[in-house]
Structures are given as structure tokens and as C-alpha cells.
């Protein structure tokens, strides 16, 4: 039963942000692309999602933010992943943010930012590419 292991993605909403329609659609798209998608629900802390990402041993941690708190939350998540020795878990952001923030976040170590108007196929392709580039672990 050595199946091709499914790509595991944890999708989280962090902080005071109740908008989860987009994230549910993304979860569904990734499922339909054959991935195992763990959805945590709303209002999680960075500590919660990093703990969950480690225990679930996901390839990708996807955080959806529509609250404008991205410049606070992403650096915190990066720090916590490092603290947990889990920097091999790739952090992907989704939501709405200014281009200069996206550039800054990439420089900090966010692997990919998939912002508004990203087509579902592009999200699937980006995650597959990240996992392929990382290689087996």
C-alpha cells in the first residue's frame, strides 16, 4: 500500500477575522486536487496553528488573513516555526494586502503569497511546485 502520499496542507484563519468563505473554497479546491486538507476553523492563535502544523506534519501551512494583521501575524508564525524546529513546513499566505507588504513577507521567509484573484488552478500548482522543490523529507 505504498501509495503516493497525499500532500498535506493545514489551512488556518488566525486572529480576529471571521471571513472564511474564501478559505473554505481553497480547502475544497485542494481536496479536489487530491490533497489532505486540515481545516482548523476560525480565530486561532499563531501558537495554535504552529502546534497543529507540527503535530499534523503538514507540508504546507496556509494562513488566510483578511484582517490587515499580516505584518504582525506572519512574522510571529515564522518565529514559532523556527522555535519548533519546523522551518521545513512551508508557509503560504492568502488574502488581501499591499504589494510592498507581500515583498517584505517573502523576504522574511513566507514561501508564497496567493492573494485576491488567484485562480484555484494557480493555488494548486503553486503548492505542488513548493512541495516538489522541497523534495522528500
Amino acid at each position: 500500500m505504498a501509495d503516493q502520499p497525499a500532500i498535506r496542507v493545514l489551512i488556518a484563519k488566525v486572529g480576529l477575522d471571521g471571513h472564511d468563505r474564501g478559505v473554505k473554497i481553497v480547502a475544497r479546491c485542494l481536496r479536489d486536487a487530491g490533497m489532505d486538507v486540515i481545516y482548523t476553523g476560525l480565530h486561532k492563535t499563531p501558537e495554535d496553528v504552529v502546534r497543529a502544523a507540527v503535530d499534523e506534519d503538514v507540508d504546507v501551512l496556509g494562513i488566510s488573513l483578511l484582517s490587515g494583521a499580516h505584518m504582525t501575524i506572519f512574522p510571529r508564525v515564522i518565529a514559532l516555526l523556527e522555535e519548533a524546529g519546523a522551518s521545513d513546513i512551508m508557509l503560504v499566505g492568502g488574502g488581501v494586502m499591499p504589494d510592498e507588504d507581500a515583498t517584505a513577507l517573502r523576504a522574511m521567509g513566507v514561501a508564497e503569497l496567493l492573494l485576491q484573484d488567484t485562480p484555484p488552478d494557480a493555488i494548486v500548482a503553486a503548492i505542488r511546485r513548493l512541495v516538489a522543490e522541497r523534495g522528500p523529507r
Partner: protein, 324 residues
Amino acid sequence: MTVQASGPVPSRRLVDGVLAGDRRALARLISRAEAGEEECRPALADIHRHTGRAHIVGVTGVPGSGKSTLVRACASAMRAVGRTLGVVAVDPSSPFSGGAILGDRIRMGALAGDPGVFIRSMASRGALGGLAHAALDAVDLMDAAGFDTVLIETVGVGQDEVDIVRAADTTVVVSAPGLGDDIQAIKAGVLEIADIHVVSKSDRPDANRTFAELKQMLLLAQVPPERHIPVVATSAESGEGIDALLAEIDSHSSFLASDGRLARRRRRNAAARAVKIAEEMVRRRYAAGDSTAMAAIVDRMCARELDPHGAARALLATLDEVAP
């Protein structure tokens, strides 16, 4: 321990981490078991030697009966008395894409941040019976990592997915009010496997009826069970019944501890597990085997030269020619 991004760490080197309770090592070995890689088998064999300490509790029931919510409530209550626990939560895979949405964590609330709890979501990946192929490997790993209790939450089952009873020390079957009449309660299957029955959502007005029907069903048993099977009404909303359920789980655990019952149950479970793995191995050998030999047998069956059982015997005979 840090799992290096540069090249995979050999599985056997993760074993000591698991035994020391390292979460990353534990999480990674569960992933390897799930991927079914041969590379991790010796490591899992090492792990297996360190199992048998945890009390394994299975929670099953129809979709939407409140399994995840109940698991959370039980887990919180167990944490409150200082017990650590692992949770293996199985959700279904899509039969079309193979993907899955694993949503059991949504109900886990504050537990997700508690270091005394390790929650792992697992996709069923086409396994029948309510569990995933690697669910019991994950249970072994959590047991070896030192968690006191391991809760297995099955996929939402229908009437006949009863694998959990061959995996758990104690099986809890959750029924929600309003899902069937008293005929449902006398049908064979899932309802028969319970060591403990739970009627969830007991704050709902029709819960009493479900409670009474289950009680009635248990009274009608022609062969009296070895132990009285309790029915516990719970409401995760109000917290009602959760302590009673925990007491029943403990009481069942004590019952098993007497007269060698636990050893007998685990022996039965071990046999079921070995047979299940052997079946899977046979399946894989067919997949890897000589397809022309198989095609010839199928042709003969289609031509009515062989009956289905004869064809199966012929297929089994071809297995000996395939390397294991």
C-alpha cells in the same frame, strides 16, 4: 530534535525521539506509516515493542452524531485530571480525487494548544471499516510516546463499519437523537459493538426517546453480555454526562483489568490486525503480479469454464509464483 530540511532523516533515527515524547519525530513517523513506505517498517517494529501501556478508546457513530465534539469534551475532562492523551481522528477521503477535508480539529478548541494532547487527523484513503490503513500505526506511535489514553475517532459510519471494535480496548458508540426509530435500534451492526453507549445532544427534547430505545434494545439481548452495557446521555453544550462517561470508561478499563480480560481482548485485536495486513499484502501482490496469468483466469471465468470460487483458488495458486 530538528528534522533537517536537507534530506530525509532515516526512520529508525526517529524512534528514540518518539520514545522521548518528541512531537516532530512522532508526527513524522505517523506520516511515513501513512505513506506506507517500506523504509519505516523496522522503525515501527521497534515502536511496537514499546506499546501496550495506553488505554485505547474507540469512538464511533453516524456522521454528525457529535463524535468530535464528544472527543473534545472527554479529552478536556481527562486533561483536567492530569492525564495525557493522543487522538487519531479519521475523516473520509474523496472517492474521486483521493483528497480529503479533515475537519475534526475545528471542534477541538483550546485542546489544540495543550502539550498534553497530540491530535492527528487522518484521511481514510479508501479503507473500509471506518478506520484508515495507518490508524493503528498512529495509535502505536502515540502509545509508545507515552500518552496515557489514545482516543480513536472513526469516520462517520453507517451500520456495518465495525473495525473499531477490533482496534480498541473500550468502544464507545455515539447515537444522536432523531436519527431513527426503535427498529434501527434492533438492527445488527454498529449498535452491537458498544462497551458503552452514548446519546449525544441530550439537551434536545427527543434525546429521551433515543435513550429509552437504546435501553430497551439492551434489555432484549438474548445472550446477556459479559458486562452491563451502560447508556450515558451527554451534552457537550452543558457538559452534562461527560464526567459520567469518563467514569464508565474507567469502570470498563477496571473490568478489563480483571480475570485476564484485557489480554484476551488484545489478543483478539492482534489477530484481526495481522489478518487485515495480510489481506492487504495479498492485494498488493496481485497488483504487482503477472497480469497475463490473472487475465487468463478471468477469461476462463467469463467463458464459464471456471466458477468464481474456482477462479479465486486459481488466483491464490498464482500467488506462490510472486515474490512477497
